[in-house]
Subunit: 324 residues, 2 copies
Amino acid sequence: MNEHEPVLRLREIRSFCVGGCVRSVHGLPVQRRRLALGGPVRPVDPNGEHITGQMYVQAYLQAEPRHRLPVLLWHGGGMTGANWESTPDGRAGWLSAFLHAGFDVYVSDAVERGRASWSPWPDIYADAPLFRTLGEGWELFRIGPPGSYRRAAQERVAHAGQQFPVAAFEAFAAQWVPRWVGHEHITLVAYDALLQHVGECIVVGHSQGGGFALEATRRRPGHVAAVVALEPSGAPEAAAAAGVRLPPHLAVWGDYMGAHALWRRYRATADAYFDALHAAGMQASVCELPREGIAGNSHFPMLDRNSDTVAQRIIAWLDHTVRP
Amino acid sequence: MNEHEPVLRLREIRSFCVGGCVRSVHGLPVQRRRLALGGPVRPVDPNGEHITGQMYVQAYLQAEPRHRLPVLLWHGGGMTGANWESTPDGRAGWLSAFLHAGFDVYVSDAVERGRASWSPWPDIYADAPLFRTLGEGWELFRIGPPGSYRRAAQERVAHAGQQFPVAAFEAFAAQWVPRWVGHEHITLVAYDALLQHVGECIVVGHSQGGGFALEATRRRPGHVAAVVALEPSGAPEAAAAAGVRLPPHLAVWGDYMGAHALWRRYRATADAYFDALHAAGMQASVCELPREGIAGNSHFPMLDRNSDTVAQRIIAWLDHTVRP
């Protein structure tokens, strides 16, 4: 028992799927396969009905929540809800940070990621998935500068002052899952089903999930009391901020943006949207962590060694922004 | 707050991956794709290193566990750890049952299932996955007799007295994930890594995971204080029971076996192993639920409407069998 952490008092831990529909597959050959250790060979017929488009959600519900609204944690591209549970070097994740702060928390796996399952192509999905290499992740996630990845861990050079626990990089990569492109629509349909299921809530989305959080909030503003986009890799068009009333927005950015051209572009897209929200009279705050003296964050501040510091920065903003 | 359920008092909820290794992929074309909503088109190079063979584990650790040993819950083929969290009709799952009984609980996703991720083929895996249709599940999981599945839910005929919550069948099917054949070796290597990570424990495995639990126990008997095979679809060869000292075993079987030829074969395989364990002087108990007056169970007793009754039957056996 770690005496520094208070006990989590939960009335319920449960999970469910939302969204999805039945789709049929026809005309594929029947195979004969052995499916279980020591079991017999048997026919396997892939033709028939399948569920597709669903997402998976875990709910951690407090015995005595200290906040009126739950927090929904939405992971990024090629990731699952595991991002929020623990850091790759074994520290408590933001799931625990938000639970200890008194929120009910919903952790989800978006459509086609992790426990949400995925569908065959070209029968249901149009295309094959993409698999991220360790090298792409090392550089894209701003752990080291472009060109710094090496197969041998001891030869990799991280950014100076890097907060990501680089010795646990392979443990982090073990969490990554394949992803498809062009699935924004089906993913947003499922996220919208989740918002309808949960009711009024706070959404914290990371990377691709940050873009989804911004767009899902724009589509259903009455269900979102506040949205936090952590390093969003996308955002609605700036013009989408006109003529709507949206809840308070917070964008949170880590370090080393200058060394990565792609991140400068992603950042510019999000800035344009936040500027437009602000110009239209809405609350759209931008927290650039290095400007607040919090230096060295990668693209994954919730996994970095200072992850608790960043979580407390966001929780303080929520405490200040959302009616208790 | 449900006043009938006591509060869960947890010191920690965390997750991690075990097992796995780095594998390289070479010679594939570089694609140009747009990966994020509103983001730019960019090159995507699949060539490089990937982690493969890992499994995903969630640990629910009690503030004051009332049992010395944790329970590991291992799902079946085409499933994930979500099987243990909630029933498809929204009742608490066996994760909650074992937590309320005072055990620390580990829920895992086996290699290539759910949050464990999966690898490209033919580059790393040899073959394409299999996708289970609703019709195959309805019949194979003994919800209705062979030939009873219909696309229209109201036309499906379940077994008389069926305990499975048939109105939630689509919600159940939304949990299913693709699976590969021929991955027994890599899956067992990861389960063995899990047993080494956790140390002495109790393993409860369902269906394909029941077969894995029996084999993993045989390979590392010092780490398993008791093993429960719930409807195992495989088992070690009977000859494997000779010349070893293994911990207490319990097999648990549901109803309607007589109507399903494949299940009679799976049952015969497990019975032969349990008979051999018994003949060699080990404790190998078989609980046929209908013979104990618990009728109507499908292949998924942990999801059936009497799931709590079956959980308590197993917990009573553990209380009687495992040194506290």
